[in-house]
């Protein structure tokens, strides 16, 4: 029974809970048990809120009994990335500097989940301040990839993706600044979606890079991701950058895709994202996916987006610049860690000692890069140039989308690498986000859907599908159709 519950999709669980076949408390407990059983090995969770989760589950069960209309995912458990504030529940962002902080407010995403009756199991591990591609930068130890515990689960949202792959939760929330939803999705064999920038409120998302950060749904199936997408998306007057437009009908699009017909859908293959530096097994998996899309009726052709070559360096100026400013508030004055306040030191000394002790190496590296890039005399050359590249990338997307409905590429150049393998080589680490960054810079939606396993190492590979802004439904349709055609590809044994 427990095994059934943890292997079911969110849509299946919701149907069972809402029909009274199984209670949300049972479903929740099954997942809490699974976490207790496996998280010693995986380390997906930084904080498990069993009490809060069961209370929410009981509430949903009472609603179901009372015949009250419940929202589509009410009663289904979810793992929340620790970057989203949760009132009264620890929110560390994977950093020592926020250890012990209990936020006095819920993020809009958190609030919407609670209002929809979704059961929040706890907070998942992540690279500190979402800076990283492996979750090794967490101040609370790395998360392990359930497919191979010696390997990384991707990052920054490795906790959320690993929780899905380990069947600790059927749903998760991630945030994607340069690929932090899609890249972990790809290397753990799960679905990860970065919606259109502004599609999901950032209120309560602890900022890394404000103009790039975007929260999105993570799941094991495309339909589950779509159901979750519609719950968390929508205009929020607390976030000025949230889009005041109707939420794209992604659930309907996913269901349409399940019909298995992509006739007339024009799919562009981005030529920049293949070739040297790409693992052959990843490219073979990608080619197989292309063939499958063709069989489904899609019209496929290559498309060149030359500016995408400059996405990575532009990203590594814009994101650190914004982070250098966003992280300035962590100064020991109001919340979180405070070091050296023994009555003899000045405010500045306490600030410095706290930041020195509280931030990890990668965070410090990016704060320094960003501080430098924004300095007077360097601003135009660095931040200014990077913004121009951003405009060029947006134009490449616009040009490509004039011809194609969606664009595709591998999500990542390689499958999951070994923990520690790239820890001392930041550039190699940064390359994990090579294919995912352009969509962040352009603010367009993109997702990763598993394309099976690489034939050389048996590890999951992701297919990235990109769509124009506000056309999130297009990629859901293609992804759902592909997912159905692809079929099952097994799972990790834990």
């Amino acid at each position: 029974m427990t095994n059934d519950l943890i292997h079911a999709t969110a849509a299946e669980l919701a149907a069972k809970i809402h029909s009274g076949e199984v209670s949300s408390v049972e479903v929740t407990q099954a997942h809490l048990d699974r976490i207790a059983e496996t998280d010693g090995k995986v380390n997906a969770f930084l904080h498990v809120d069993a009490e809060g989760a069961l209370a929410q589950a009981r509430k949903v069960d009472a609603d179901v009994k009372a015949g009250k209309v419940v929202s589509p995912l009410a009663g289904v458990p979810l793992a929340l990335k620790d970057v989203m504030t949760t009132e009264g529940v620890p929110t560390t962002v994977g950093s020592k500097i926020l250890e012990g902080w209990l936020p006095p407010y819920d993020a809009t995403v958190t609030r919407k989940l609670k209002e929809a009756g979704v059961v929040i199991l706890g907070k998942t591990n992540m690279d500190e301040f979402a800076m990283g591609s492996s979750t090794e930068n967490s101040a609370y130890g790395p998360t392990h990839n359930p497919w191979d515990l010696d390997r990384i689960p991707g990052g920054s949202g490795g906790g959320s993706s690993a929780a899905l792959a380990a069947h600790q939760a059927p749903l998760a929330i991630g945030t994607d600044t340069g690929g932090s939803i899609r890249q972990p999705g790809a290397v753990t064999g799960t679905v990860g979606v970065k919606p259109t920038y502004g599609g999901v409120s950032r209120y309560g998302l602890v900022a890394f890079s404000s103009s790039l950060d975007q929260a999105g749904p993570c799941a094991r199936t495309v339909l589950d991701a779509a159901l979750l997408h519609e719950i968390i998306a929508g205009h929020d007057e607390m976030d000025s950058t949230s889009i005041n437009e109707p939420v794209p009908a992604v659930v309907a699009a996913a269901r349409e895709g399940l019909n298995g017909d992509l006739s007339g859908v024009r799919v562009g293959v981005v030529t920049q994202f293949q070739g040297e530096g790409y693992q052959p097994g990843v490219l073979r998996s990608f080619q197989a996916a292309v063939s499958q899309l063709k069989e489904l009726g899609a019209e496929i052709a290559d498309v060149s987006c030359p500016s995408f070559d400059y996405a990575l360096p532009a990203y590594y100026l814009i994101a650190p610049s914004e982070c250098s400013s966003n992280l300035a508030r962590f100064d020991a004055m109001r919340y979180g860690l405070r070091v050296g306040d023994d009555g003899t030191r000045s405010t500045e000394e306490v600030m410095s000692l706290t930041r020195e002790a509280g931030f990890g190496d990668e965070v410090k590296r990016r704060i320094m890069i960003g501080t430098y890039a924004l300095s007077s005399g360097y601003y135009d050359a660095y931040y200014g140039s990077a913004q121009k590249v951003r405009t060029l990338i947006t134009r490449d997307f616009q040009k490509a989308f004039a011809t194609f409905d969606v664009l595709i590429s591998p999500t990542t150049p390689t499958t999951a690498f070994k923990i520690g393998e790239r820890a001392n080589d930041p550039i190699a680490m940064y390359k994990a986000d090579l294919c995912t960054i352009p969509a962040n810079l352009a603010g367009t939606p993109a997702m990763s859907v598993p394309s099976g396993l690489s034939d050389e190492d048996g590890l999951p590979v992701g297919l990235q599908i990109m769509a124009p802004a506000l056309q999130d439904h297009r990629m859901y349709r293609v992804a759902a159709a592909y997912e159905a055609a692809r079929g099952a590809f097994g799972g990790p044994s834990l």
């Binding site: 006095p104 000025s240 610049s321 400013s325 508030r329 100064d331 004055m333 924004l374 601003y379």
Partner: protein, 500 residues
């Protein structure tokens, strides 16, 4: 400490140097809510009670622009004859300070909402100087630090510091002038007149409390000296903590004499922030910075650009009230005042009060007479501004009405005013409490006159002999006997009738 500062004689300063001014004024808008959140925008209040995740800069919080503040900014820009940006953005000004929750201030940098304007400023003698406005931009205020212990109240030497974020996020408009050269000897006066004119303008726009004492209007005065010999622009200092109109003038004058002394002794003026000290009238250097401040401005990614439509801007132009200079022109015409009289009224800070008194029912001449003579004396004696006297224009109008209906003599009227100033209540209450009323009973007056004539027989004889002017002595005695409550004219009539 300040006594060690060398100062040059002012005449000598003017002989050798041309002062160049630049004024930055910060105005707190009195919108209901803060710039980027829904917290109450109120002066005072228990510390940290008007706060939320956004104005505390808590992780994850985001700003949302207060539309009313943008509206006020545009109206200020229009009143200052500025161009209004068709598109502008906020920017982050990055620096660390404990009372700034995010360690960056959300401000505007190279894309201000209003720019290229001017304000005509009238000096005490009526000369009009046009001060050019560089820009007016929107930003948020910081919290307040309270340094406890230590002698100075400043951070150095304090035992500990307390932080109050009630003010954090209050909407500010910063109004920056272009360089103001060529004012010579009158530079300090120009500085004061500019801030005064700006204050009156902002008051008329009803966008701010413009209370310098409460910090809702704050002025930073930039001063540099150009040696007449070289004509080269000198290094400027920026004086902060200038909390009254008078201080603006004093601070500029002090800096001119100080900088001149530095230059004359072969030194160089250091570009620095200085603090004005009200009690000594001097400026002292702020905390030395080891490196030049680099605020690393960049466009605020949490906010979308502001693009006020031309229709909206024109609509707001239509909401501009009668501006101070327009009002002055109207009043001068309506009341038929000479330039000189108008200027005196303006300089005395009496114009508003007189107009309000007129609105309350008094005639312009009567109202003017009260405010510029008796009440001006009272203000002078008490060492306060005319507008700070504890009497309202409505109360003054009532006193005038009591005189016009012969309920009070002028002398009694002054006593009624004194009562109001002493806090005894309204004019009618003072009249009641002090028993102020004109003695109009002829029998009582005749009796008092007879007694006075009997007491001074020689004077009485002189009157009977036709020396009418001698009647004054008897009138005076009667007024004294009746404690001033008699109508002096009537008393005189009775005296003359008795002696005829």
């Amino acid at each position: 400490m300040t006594s060690l500062v060398e100062l040059m004689d002012y005449d000598e300063v003017i002989e050798k140097y041309d002062p160049v001014l630049g004024l930055e004024v910060h105005v707190e808008l009195h919108t209901n809510t803060k710039m980027f959140c829904g917290c109450a925008n109120e002066f005072g209040g228990e510390p940290n009670t008007h706060t939320c995740p956004t104005c505390l800069g808590l992780p994850g919080s985001l700003p949302v622009v207060n539309g009313k503040a943008v509206e006020s900014a545009i109206r200020i820009g229009l009143a200052l004859n500025c161009e209004i940006a068709e598109w502008c953005r906020f920017a982050r000004k990055n620096y660390f300070y404990p009372d700034m929750p995010k360690n960056f201030q959300t401000s505007q940098y190279d894309e201000p909402i209003a720019f290229n304007g001017w304000l005509d400023v009238t000096l005490d003698d009526g000369e009009v100087i046009r001060v050019e406005i560089e820009r007016a931009h929107m930003e948020e205020d910081t919290g307040k630090s309270l340094h406890v212990g230590g002698a100075t109240g400043r951070i150095h030497g304090a035992e500990h510091s307390l932080l109050d974020y009630n003010r954090a996020g209050v909407p500010l408009i910063e109004i920056v002038t272009k360089m103001i050269p060529g004012t010579g000897r009158r530079a300090p006066e120009v500085a004061r007149a500019y801030v005064t004119a700006l204050r009156d303008l902002l008051k008329a726009l009803d966008v701010s409390d413009v209370r310098m004492d409460q910090g809702s209007l704050r002025c930073d005065a930039n001063v540099s000296l150009t040696p007449k010999t070289t004509g080269e622009l000198g290094t400027r200092t920026e004086t902060k903590n200038v909390n009254s109109l008078r201080s603006v003038e004093r601070a500029v004058r002090f800096e001119m004499t100080r900088q001149a002394a530095v230059l004359a002794s072969g030194g160089t003026v250091t570009q620095e922030t200085r603090h004005f000290d009200e009690s000594s009238g001097s400026t002292s250097p702020g905390r030395k910075k080891e490196t030049a401040e680099d605020y690393r401005y960049f466009p605020e990614p949490d906010l979308v650009p502001i693009a006020p439509s031309r229709e909206w801007v024109e609509e707001l132009r239509g909401t501009l009230p009668e501006l101070p200079w327009e009002r002055r022109a109207r009043i001068q015409k309506d009341w038929n005042l000479t330039d000189e009289v108008l200027r005196d009224l303006v300089n005395a800070g009496a114009l508003d009060l007189i107009e309000a008194t007129v609105v309350a029912g008094a005639k312009p001449d009567e109202a003017r007479s009260w405010w510029v003579s008796y009440l001006a004396q009272q203000a002078n004696t008490r060492g306060v501004e005319l507008s700070d006297l504890p009497i309202t224009p409505g109360q003054v109008a009532r006193v005038i009405e009591l005189v016009n209906t012969n309920a009070l003599t002028n002398k009694l009227a002054r006593e009624a005013v004194n009562g109001v100033l002493e806090g005894e209540g309204s004019p009618d209450e003072v009249v009641e409490k002090r028993g102020l009323k004109v003695v109009s009973d002829d029998t009582a007056l005749e009796k008092a006159v007879d007694e006075a004539l009997a007491a001074q027989p020689d004077v009485a004889q002189k009157i009977r002999d036709g020396k009418v002017q001698a009647a004054g002595a008897i009138v005076g005695a009667v007024m004294k006997a009746t404690k001033g409550q008699a109508d002096a004219a009537r008393v005189r009539e009775i005296v003359l009738a008795r002696c005829s």
